[in-house]
Amino acid sequence: MLSFLFKRRAFQGGVHPEDRKQATSHLPIQTLPLPERLYVPVQQHIGAAAQPRVQTGQKVLKGEMIATGSGPVSAAVHAPTSGTVVAVEPHPAPHPSGLPVQTIVIEPDGDDRWVDEPEPEHALNLEPEVIAQRVAEAGVVGMGGATFPAAIKLNLGSRHTIDTLVINGSECEPYLTCDDRLMRERTQEVIDGVRIMRHALGARHTLIVLEDNKPEALAALQEHLYEMDHLEAISVPTRYPMGSEKHMIKAVTGREIPAGKLGADIGVIVHNVGTAYAVHRAVRMRRPLVSRIVTVGGGAVQRPANLQVPLGTRVEELLAYCGGTRETPARLLMGGPMMGQIMPHAQVPVVKGTNGVIALTAAEINIDDPMPCIRCGRCVAACPCGLMPLEMASRIRSEDMDGAAAYGLMDCVACGSCSYVCPSHIPLVQYFQHAKGVLADRREQQRRQEELKELAQQRRARQEAEAKAKAEAAARKKAEREAKKRAQQAKAKEKPAPAKDNEKAEA
Amino acid sequence: MTHPAKLILDDYRRLFRDGIWDNNVVMAQMLALCPLLAVTGTATNGLGMGLATTFVMVAAALLISMLRGIITPEVRIPVFILLIAALVTLVDLVMNAYLYEMHKALGLFIPLIVTNCAILGRAESFASRQPVHRAVVDGLAMGVGFTLILVVLGAVREIPGSGTLFADARLLLGDGFAWMELTLIPEYRGFLLMILPPGAFLALGFILAGKRVLDTRLANRAAAVKMAQA
């Protein structure tokens, strides 16, 4: 009778948010017409911002590199269409703060002309390093939301033994259907991208993993896969956050990534299906990443849709294309409702990591004013990382960040399962984000202090050395003077008592 | 110029203010809790304990301050303890002989004046560094402060607990003090919790909270006055 309580689960914790995908899952991908202006930020990825290499007034062609990656973790940015650069200036970033970020503003000329027309390549003959390099040149970043430069992950095969490549098609966030549509409509391209990545990594097994709420996509994939390929598509139970790398690995391989390590350390690499598609475009078609598929949804949107959008298009254009909003959205999000970011306004551009633009009504949000924690433990049960969110939050509330860290703050993936279930509607994730920020500030400050200490010590050493040198110089001078004097005296009076002089010198 | 006598008086006033309120053994230093909670079933017991402790405190302060010149750090603590223990034994014997009933009521807690942390603490931090007169006044102030809180806690527990105040005061102070024994609520069966151990903790908790509220009020008022003057 109690067997339902003991059901073995793919990973501990997790939640079942209402998935609300039916509004868009049946809608084919439409191409958004070119907007009047494109606002392309130089920072669309994790890591250092790219360096702009165009000037105002310069003409650019579609796919032309307009900013180069700088440093080991960075990604290039390409012109999403042909046109004129009208400004390189700060512009509000697609970020909750709405702070400005360096942005290249392009006025399309309407031709949408590519830089070049290369031949498709026999990608599977290429060396892994070459593949990685092409991916890097194409500015491909992880399309699953983390926007980590994909080339770096594809290069990991050289340093680690990768036995399994997992392609993440779970799309566990409510509302989002862009990956689903991608797998259904561009199945072969996705599979080709997967093959290229597998080749680059040298993985023996490859799994394309879907949640079991996407049977059509699974069928489409399986239709194009054949048995001997060691490449298969499987479905896993629908449970948020199945899409999280750690939990997906646990669910399909039973392995856990040790704290502080990467998937590669246990031989598994996870990539999003969108990334696979982008890799296919980059390596096979030699096309950089200049557009992406975005789900526009949420109760406040007139006509939800799946759109292929040039990067840099402002969110308001997407909404306008979808017939505008029926009511003022209570929250405008980029990404899904669980991990997506709230946008300060609709004038922010779509970037490489934008998988959804979701305009939610108050009823959909369903978040009340927070009450005190009643220690019900639901957050503990929901946390897929085995943390105790309530303890971390109470410590953060009383400013005990170290206490929160001791409770595992740094192991939190910010999935939001805990906040989602909390009956007291406590913004737990925001507490954690805040604390992570404070700790980061502290580390930063500490690092600075170390540096400053070093500097101060150097200065002191220098000053001391100078003082010593000065003193020595003075002593030397004095000695010289004395010697001179003595010589003069000696010269002047040939016969004084020499003992007296000795005494003086000694004193 | 202020008269030296006034200076001394001011100094003593400060010491008393410290002992009774600002740096009260219990309310500020959180020491001497065992006798405090254990014997305050009635205000009378509290008074008895307070008087005994005050005597020991004053005498210990006197002796220790007098001896402070010859005591070395190595044997400081044993010497203090020895002196305090001797004084306590003295009190014990005398009370046993001349205040027999009271002695029965205070029981184990007379000997434990020895380990009353407050006495040793005060000996360490004050008496052993101060001239005799200040040490004695301080001992007295601390003792009075302790006695006051003992009596207050005793009253706070006794009134709701058994409906009386200073019950059996006669046994402590002599028949002349029978008038102190009040029965506030006749035929009252009592809110027993207050005289049981939990009540002791609860009552002290609420007294401390009360002091906190009072202190903030006073501080606010003082700040307001200062603002007004400025």
Binding site: Q43, A93, H95, S97, L99, V101, D369, P370, M371, P372, I396, R397, S398, E399, D402, I426, P427, Q430, Y431, Q433, H434, K436, G437, V438, A440, D441, R442, Q445, Q446, R448, Q449, E451, L452, K453, L455, A456, Q457, Q458, R459 | P73, E74, V75, P78, L82
Partner: protein, 175 residues
């Protein structure tokens, strides 16, 4: 009755003897705490704590003569560390987590007197005599000494401009 006197005196003698021996043979070495604390302090000897430098600050802290919140450059984090080290409990909620500030030279007012250059403990100011000086922000700890000495009021402390990298989530309001 003499037994009483004998017994107690004997105990006293014995205890005094053993304590004396203990004190002699088991002397505690110099308190290593001061050094440990000094290591934790920023070490820029900026004097904002009102003490002549970090090592005297460390001594004062070890002797519990100064509050753990004494060092502004160290901020709340240092105060917390110190509190833990000294096992004292402090309420740090009142202590503002001050946004770090940096000195900036108003170029039109700098006359190149080099005074600021000389007081800066971290060599954050660069420039030569009679030339406009600049502050190397990475090395500035915002102590403000240079601001004090500048004869033309040409130095100001400005807070860091927020960027996406330095932006932080605020703490939620709790009811």
């Amino acid at each position: 009755m003499y037994a009483a006197i004998v017994v107690l005196t004997a105990m006293g003698l014995l205890l005094g003897y053993s304590l004396g021996m203990a004190a002699k043979y088991l002397k505690v070495e110099k308190d290593p705490l001061v050094d440990e604390i000094e290591d934790m302090l920023p070490g820029t000897n900026c004097g904002q704590c009102g003490l002549p430098g970090c090592s005297s600050a460390a001594q004062a802290l070890a002797a519990h003569e100064a509050p753990v919140t004494l060092c502004p450059p160290g901020g709340k984090a240092l105060a917390q560390q110190l509190a833990d080290k000294l096992s004292v409990s402090v309420d740090l909620s009142g202590m503002e987590e001050e946004a770090p500030a940096f000195a900036r030279i108003k170029e039109d007012q700098c006359n190149g007197c080099t005074r600021c250059y000389k007081v800066c403990a971290t060599d954050a100011i660069m420039g030569a005599n009679r030339q406009i000086h600049t502050v190397f922000t990475e090395a500035c700890n915002g102590c403000g000494k240079c601001v004090e000495v500048c004869p033309t009021n040409g130095l100001v402390l400005v807070p860091e401009t927020p960027t996406l990298r330095t932006w932080r989530w605020s703490k939620p309001e709790a009811r």
